[in-house]
């Protein structure tokens, strides 16, 4: 099935970047969990390794088919993800529990991760079907706005502000890049400027406070503000060269909240300092620039938009998470791709980069056409 031309086109640079991230992630997860009292830490680390094994397999599976299948099945995948989002909301209502996961035995599945990818596919499908133009008017775009807002609203209802805003931001970036008329953009901005204060006035006092606290965690020093303070201490105390592997005191003493999930970067920055952290940031930058390059190099419009959407999805998640733990962005609670613990996130991240690789490998397939 895989012909030789495909193998020849395998993107070793992209693969190397991914491997480097996986390696760092393993070591860092070990450090973050090995001091957790009892068997809990070891269990988390083992599961992390397992998830990586599964998601690497999925990465390779994503290479075996022509990515145009995604275009064909795009809307079905989208519908399934909407259905699952609705189900998880209803299921959460029934069990009166958290409304983000499906628990199937030990495996829990987060439909919002699938929703992210399906929005990327639908975006690419939509723009590849539109007549090629420099800019589009609102009346040509309203459908895609709707397709993006529906899953975002459902996820917001879970409530998962992090994932919802990521979907909105990366879709926005893709739409901007596809081109939108200046006048249409102006209309959108004006509408936003009018609606925002109207919504704000209609919020209850406690809702306003929640929003303000979210924007500025210092307003809640005993809650979110405490997390950020500890995270900043952890990162800052790493100084130039870090405290060394397994030597992060913030980590060991469990000052850091959620140190193996959302705040995993603080663990890394404490132990590896500015040197290690900037290297990690550089790796992410390479990954994203490579992704954009793949988008540029793809010869068909669907592949182009698909690569762009996936890359923007990765970029915004990485940026928002890092900005959050460093205390320059609101605490939205989004994992750091590749690094954070979490099966669903890992699987869909690896699937996404698998699709990137897929697009790269098939970029010459249309030469003959």
């Amino acid at each position: 099935m895989l012909d030789r031309r495909l193998v020849k086109n395998f993107d070793w640079l992209l693969f190397l970047i991914i491997l480097a991230l996986v390696g760092i992630s393993m070591a860092n997860m070990y450090s973050a969990t090995c001091f957790i009292k009892g068997a809990g830490g070891a269990k988390i680390f083992k599961r992390h390794v397992c998830w990586y094994a599964i998601s690497l397999t999925i990465f390779f599976i994503m290479l075996t088919f022509d990515y145009h299948i995604l275009k064909k099945w795009g809307y079905y995948i989208y519908l399934v993800s909407i259905f699952l989002l609705l189900l998880v909301l209803i299921w959460g209502k029934i069990t009166a529990g958290s409304q983000r996961w499906f628990r199937l035995g030990i495996i829990s599945f987060q439909p919002s991760e699938l929703a992210k990818l399906s929005v990327a596919i639908v975006l690419s499908h939509f723009f590849s079907e539109l007549p090629a133009k420099r800019d589009y008017a609102l009346k040509e775009l309203w459908q895609i706005f709707l397709l993006v807002i529906i899953p975002a609203a459902l996820i917001l209802k879970e409530p998962d502000l992090g994932t919802a805003s990521i979907i909105l931001i990366f879709s926005g970036t893709v739409i901007l890049l596809a081109g939108i008329r200046k006048r249409s953009l102006l209309v959108l901005v004006c509408a936003g400027l009018i609606i925002t204060p109207m919504v704000w006035m209609n919020l209850k006092d406690y809702q306003k406070k929640r929003v303000l606290t979210f924007i500025n965690p210092d307003m809640d020093p005993l809650g979110a503000g405490y997390h950020i303070t500890q995270s900043k201490i952890a990162i800052g105390s790493g100084m130039a060269f870090g405290k060394g592997f397994l030597n992060g005191s913030q980590t060991r003493l469990h000052f850091l909240p959620e140190q193996h999930t959302d705040f995993i970067f603080s663990v890394f920055a404490e132990e590896w300092g500015f040197l290690g952290s900037s290297l990690l940031i550089f790796l992410y930058l390479c990954l994203i620039l490579r992704g954009l390059d793949i988008a540029k190099g793809s010869k068909d419009r669907f592949g182009r938009y698909m690569a762009l959407s996936i890359t923007m999805m990765i970029f915004w998640q990485v940026f928002v998470n890092m900005g959050m733990v460093m205390g320059i962005l609101p605490v939205v609670g989004t994992p750091l791709l590749f690094m954070s613990y979490g099966g669903s996130s890992l699987i869909f991240t690896m699937a996404s980069v698998g699709i990137l690789m897929n697009i790269r490998m098939r970029r010459y397939m249309f030469d003959a056409v």
């Binding site: 420099r134 081109g179 005191s249 300092g273 182009r304």
Partner: protein
């Protein structure tokens, strides 16, 4: 817009991707700058902080709003209290620490054990309160030994202070140990009184001294609640009730403002502030006197002769009687095989409505009650607001009970008996009312037939001057009775206090026309009572009096109930008189 050719479109796309790449690089550069700022510029500081990471979380409690009387006199505020806390995270040996602490300030070992268990389940950075309101001596003893007591801190916090102790205790209510309103105004306005606590992250050194404030959000103080009661009048009312069991309600009949509300026996809300031991609580809650009960709104009593106003209105409005209609009172009334007595054994002779009310003749009302029947009477009782809550904006109000023939059948499975109608007509039988209902009912007779909702909250004001609640009269219902009929009853009620033979003559004040009605709740059948003599205080009747003054355009209505006080005219009327006199003092000289 023109459609683009494929190469053109790719060209544009690639150009835009290039700009996007630049944007991405820029944002990552921002991250790098932030990292530089945290790790290189401030790295040393953070490193030091991480080495002795002693960041304490400190809640900044909000100042609880004051409670004031209608003239702005402070009734409840807060005073500073020294509270002892332990931060579990900073304690090496908890047993040892508690041992030392108990030696210094004498904690009881049993409660220590309990506290240890509580601390274990606690988020370890949050201070746990060990003892509240420790003395200044103890504070200095702990401060001088602070190095031996790692993890111990003393905080100055506000403590609820009920300045006049028992004054209006039922109305004001009390708070629980965690400063939540549990009853009365403290409960009703908990949300606005409590304000919003703030918080602080502070960095401390090894001895717990503050080095730096890392982050802080101020607390928002609670709002002040102004009551409609007048402290002077309230104090007088409580004085008058001293040593008795009973209640007084004084209200403005034209808008429902409560001017005073007293219930006796009372309690001192300060005992709840620090929490109390099981024993004290048992003693209070199981006491025969029920000191926590607000009898003014929660106590249920038969209205006795106070109810005659309702039956009179019903008779007039239904056309059963005219003011001139007379019945003969011989002191006894035969009904079937039963004899019903008038309180005056040798009878009132010829009685018209005016005389019947003035001298509270039972025989007149037996006759009238028999003509009306139970359900007509019940209809008018409900019109006067009985059998449902007055809607007062505080406390745990009782509904009371207005019996009907249907109610009797449902409740007991037995039909209503004609004789019970006679008891009902003089306010006995199953009929139950609260003192506040009586105040509202008599107000309606004098204010033109309006049932106002009683209210005790005059004003709620935020510390910044914002007013979030202002008293507004609220009408709960109206009497559908012709004004001239109400006038006839009013004249009779004036006669009760001011004419010879009036039962309420003891409420008379020189220079002011007081109107009113007495009531005496018979607790047992008269015969039995005679047998038992009056050995026990318990057997004495409950004494009612409702006074209204000045009768022409009243500014106050006073309802008084004294449990086992004896006759309304002798036990309660003088109390109402004193209170009215106190209220109208400026006008009386």
């Amino acid at each position: 817009m023109i459609r683009l050719s494929e190469p053109d479109s790719l060209n544009i796309f690639q150009k835009r991707i290039w700009w996007l790449s630049l944007f991405v690089v820029f944002l990552f550069f921002v991250l790098l700058l932030r990292l530089w700022y945290l790790q290189i510029i401030n790295g040393k500081q953070y490193r030091k902080r991480s080495e002795n990471n002693r960041i304490r979380l400190k809640e900044i409690p909000a100042y609880r709003g004051k409670i004031l009387d209608r003239n702005g006199l402070v009734l409840v505020d807060n005073k500073p209290s020294y509270n002892l806390y332990i931060i579990p995270e900073e304690v090496d040996d908890l047993g040892l620490l508690l041992n030392r602490l108990s030696k210094i300030i004498g904690l009881d070992p049993q409660s220590i054990q309990k506290k240890i268990l509580r601390i274990r389940n606690h988020f370890s950075f949050k201070p746990v309160c060990i003892k509240r309101d420790i003395s200044l001596d103890d504070v200095s003893r702990i401060e001088s030994n602070i190095l031996m007591l790692p993890g111990t801190i003393i905080r100055v916090e506000g403590k609820r202070n009920y300045i006049y102790k028992e004054l209006a205790a039922h109305l004001i209510g009390y708070i629980s140990r965690n400063i939540r309103g549990k009853s009365g105004i403290e409960y009703r306005w908990e949300k606005v009184l409590s304000g919003e606590p703030g918080g602080m992250q502070i960095e401390v050194d090894a001895t717990g001294r503050m080095i730096d404030v890392i982050s802080k959000s101020p607390s928002i103080p609670g709002a002040d609640v102004y009551l409609t009661i007048d402290k002077r009048l309230q104090q007088k009312a409580e004085q008058l009730l001293k040593g008795k069991r009973g209640a007084i309600v004084a209200m403005d009949p034209y808008n429902g403002e409560i001017l005073a509300m007293a219930s006796s026996p009372s309690f001192d809300p300060n005992i709840f502030v620090d929490g109390m031991d099981q024993k004290t609580w048992q003693k209070i809650s199981n006491s025969m006197d029920h000191p926590l009960q607000n009898r003014a709104i929660n106590g249920l009593y038969p209205p006795a002769s106070l109810f005659k106003v309702v039956v009179s209105s019903a008779g007039l409005q239904e056309g059963m009687i005219t003011p001139r209609k007379k019945f003969i009172c011989t002191g006894r009334f035969l009904y079937g095989n039963w004899i019903y007595n008038c309180w005056k054994r040798n009878g009132h002779g010829e009685v018209d409505l005016h005389k019947a009310i003035r001298e509270s003749c039972d025989i007149y009302f037996y006759n009238l009650g028999k003509m009306l029947g139970v359900d007509k009477i019940a209809h008018y009782a409900r019109m006067f607001g009985l059998g449902r809550k007055t809607g007062i904006d505080v406390g745990n109000e009782s509904t009371g009970l207005v019996p009907t023939s249907r109610w009797k059948l449902k409740r007991f499975g037995v039909p209503w008996q004609g004789g019970e109608t006679l008891s009902l007509a003089i306010g006995q039988s199953y009929l139950l009312v609260t003192p506040i209902q009586m105040a509202v009912m008599y107000s309606a007779v004098f204010n033109g037939g309006i049932l106002y909702k009683p209210q005790v909250t005059k004003l709620i004001k935020r510390p910044n001057g914002d007013i979030i609640h202002r008293f507004k009269p609220q009408i709960k219902g109206r009497l559908h009775i012709k004004p001239e009929y109400l006038d006839i009853i009013k004249q009779a009620l004036i006669a009760v206090v001011n004419e010879p033979h009036g039962t309420g003559i003891k409420a008379k004040i020189k220079g002011i026309t007081v109107a009113g009605k007495t009531g005496t709740v018979q607790l047992m059948e008269k015969k039995k009572k005679e047998e038992k003599e009056e050995r026990h205080n318990e057997i004495k009747d409950h004494a009612w009096f409702v006074g209204v003054a000045p009768a022409k355009h009243p500014s106050i209505v006073v309802a008084v109930i004294i449990e086992h006080g004896g006759h309304g005219g002798s036990a309660s009327a003088p109390i109402a008189r004193e209170l009215i006199r106190e209220f109208l003092k400026p006008h009386v000289r």
